[in-house]
Subunit: 290 residues, 4 copies
């Protein structure tokens, strides 16, 4: 990972396209001619013959902000020639995040803590919860807290209110143990930009009470999974997973305690990769350049 | 782990019973009065109030072999009083194993190798395969190799022949990537004594082609699972699991290659625990005192 | 791990002594006769012939608090017979801890957080720091904060004040990235009861700037070590270690960031084992029954 | 990792040079103009301002073998302009390896096994040992085995004979637990091309009997390190390390047994990276593009 005091001139370019000869040459030539210096580059070709091509380039360019628009315009002909899906992000423009949480607080705490320590370089625009428990903690960081209760009766209104708060205001939504189903409307506002932490090693133990499921199955290792939310429950593209060894002595409460540690670690890693523009999604899988 | 030059006097006692006060006192008092010295003891109580109690005791006793029978007889009143399920094994009496294998050879190689290196202290009584590929390798260790082809037509005869070879001749059967369904009759001969290696982190990816399943789901970690075989496919008590990190660059062949390493490690560990009498089964779960 | 709603009747017994036949029988018989029910027991014999014997027993006993003294008195003859070093702890009597910290806050945060979440069942009696930075954070938990600056001139007075605050007031001292040398006088007050986190995988990179040392050596894995403090710098008995993979891309700042996560995890684990009476020290090594 | 049926047209290019703008553009433009298709590329910049730049490019080029020389000649002007250290390897031209071994056989077994399974795509040109123990095993693979005893008297002659056998005949030398000091003359023949496995997590436990050292220090994790051999004992550039958890129950023999597994895994990984041209050395550190 490369840090830089001149981050205002650091950009990250993400490209997906069908693989063809000449992509790297064309893109790097373009950047060179525009005075940009490539400082990091990662690429992946699914299949050299006819597969998809993915690349993430970090480059430095003087007066980046003023020149970003012209750069993109000039690049237009290249994206068209190679049928590229391309985005350019300025590293110094922080992603804006909304965090949604229910009663379990460990993931929220980890995120706000890493944010405060400077390890998570994003703007936390708001925390939304169906409970009021974490208000004091959240507000102590100077972050707005919205309590939107969700009951069968208020569900529709709650979802409307959530969208109202977040649409256009944030780049992504982090479900930090938010235990309600996300509405299709909210999903549509943030395609592949809602990150959930599921408290199992997916695809094992989809759905509710995964630690009880794990205990009953007698697994020797438990895990957690950060994934983008799609319409299929716990079925979206996996961003990151991690695991820890357990044994017969660990009851369900022990699994939950051990799992909390995995969950917050895994979610924080996924969110960091998102805000650093390290994740590309293709079909139902992710390419993570970390 | 305690090694001992006087292993012929080393015994291992495995007990399962409903938890009650006084079990440890009674058992250890009994052993002390009979001149045994406890060198290792592990116990586990599922729930102090009304749960199951499990204990594994290693003890040294002079002239163990001659006194084993009398010891067991004397212990009878204790097993009855506490409704114990109890076995005593002499450490120097090696378990006899049959290994079944198909075409993938890495698990068989690992087991024979560890056996030759003295790390797996068992007798490998025979290798049975539905292919002839591993004959030369197996026989180079001086181990009998039985080629029993399995086709829809010969299935029944093959299963009969398998049982004939193994029943009464071996203590346990190790499925070292044996890709045929085990017959109910064979299962009945070796209850909780058939160990299989499944090439996924169960319960994820039950059934066939788990690496293809894992690739398609886009998991970031793959694993392998050693378990006792029961009638439910890939559903028996889990003995051991391990995992390794993969990423988007790894195609199905890479997953298989990485997986082979996990599979042989996990299976060898499970077999070692079995031959050292470290595994107790309760319902569909294992207690492993390792 | 066994939790119990009747924790006020739960005790933990730690014994070290030269190995001899009959120890387990005698101790378990004693507990049984006094009406105690053993719910967990772990033991370790260094060498069956003439080595040391260690055991940790968790037992339940009605009216434990009232009977503790009589129990210990009755047990006296046994401890003498076997030359035992024996302690009995009531699980419901929480250990009292002092935490010392300098400017790096992640270990302190993790400990207070786990304490608040109920995962660390101890009393945090005070936080002592040579800086004033963490006062507000600490006091927000209702924990007293003592700012004791340490300069070459004030060193002696500072150490006197530290001992004054802690001696007799706390059971153990946790150095949560406290960057000053501990005085011999303080060490003497808390033999094998001062736990330090060293930010390397000891014995690699003893002393200052271990992450810079690790970067310069080009290691592929970094770690952290929790150990009891002795007079030898970074040389005391190791309680716990953990590691994480790094690569050439990680500069010293990256190592520090990754390391912070390992450090707080490892220290928290060690402190938890201490407060649960899981650690025995023998010469310069630990036996951890976890 | 990308496999390809057309491997005879697959090349790998390794470049180290001072970082300057335009390197990637120039190199990729050059390859594109010569009809090459980049299928994989990894790069690393130590410090965007004035640091070193490293890149590994895999590309496909029709009729690679015939065109290799011309390609290199054309590339000359670029290597000169950027002061590059550049090598191009044809993937289908296997590296030739000599393996040196003493009495411990597990590393040699793992390498030959992986070689036989097709996981290690190199030519094993010979095995050299100061003992005769592994002759039969080695020759069963059809690999020449040279027994060169090393005693104080024969040392010089032995070293002369080693060089005679290997110089110009192999690309690299693998010390698979070869327990003799490598002569400066041999080192000179194979600069950064002698890979050793050290049975500890370096820089901890340099020198002899590392498992005994680890046991005495009471570490909770042990490891192994693959590194290039230099004149400083156990001090050369580290290629790969791995570790495994141990506990107080593990005596020195247990550590050795557990360590054997780590050693063979780590060495095999390092050798695989070497033969796939994934390792660049800069000063005393490695850049591994894996």
């Amino acid at each position: 990972m490369i840090m830089n005091e001149h981050d205002q001139n650091r950009a990250r370019m993400l490209i997906s396209c069908p693989d063809k000869p000449g992509i790297v040459a064309t893109v790097s030539q373009f950047l060179f001619e525009h005075g940009a210096n490539i400082v990091q580059s990662d690429q992946y070709t699914m299949d050299p013959e006819g597969g998809m091509f993915f690349i993430r380039i970090e480059f430095d360019l003087d007066n980046l902000e003023q020149r970003q628009e012209a750069l993109l315009q000039d690049f237009q002909t290249i994206t068209e020639r190679f049928e590229m899906d391309c985005t350019i992000h300025i590293a110094s423009v922080k992603k804006r995040l909304a965090i949604m949480v229910s009663k379990e607080d460990h993931c929220l705490r980890e995120l706000l803590w890493q944010w405060q320590a400077g390890d998570l370089t994003a703007d936390i625009a708001m925390v939304i919860s169906n409970h009021n428990d974490m208000r004091e903690f959240t507000e102590s960081f100077g972050i707005p807290y919205y309590h939107i209760p969700v009951t069968p009766d208020t569900k529709q209104e709650a979802e409307r209110r959530q969208i109202e708060l977040m649409r256009g205001q944030v780049d992504a939504v982090i479900l930090a143990r938010y235990m309600q189903i996300i509405s299709p409307e909210l999903l549509e506002c943030f395609p592949n930009r809602i990150i959930n932490i599921h408290h199992s090693f997916l695809p094992a133990f989809v759905g509710g009470k995964p630690y009880a499921q794990a205990y009953n199955r007698g697994v020797k290792i438990i895990g957690a999974t950060a994934h983008f939310v799609t319409e299929e429950l716990d079925g979206g593209p996996i961003i990151e997973q991690d695991v820890q060894r357990v044994d017969h002595r660990d009851n369900i409460d022990d699994l939950k305690r051990i799992g909390r540690h995995i969950e917050r670690t895994v979610l924080a890693r996924a969110v960091n990769w998102y805000v650093e523009d390290r994740i590309l999604v293709h079909h139902n899988k992710t390419v993570v350049f970390n």
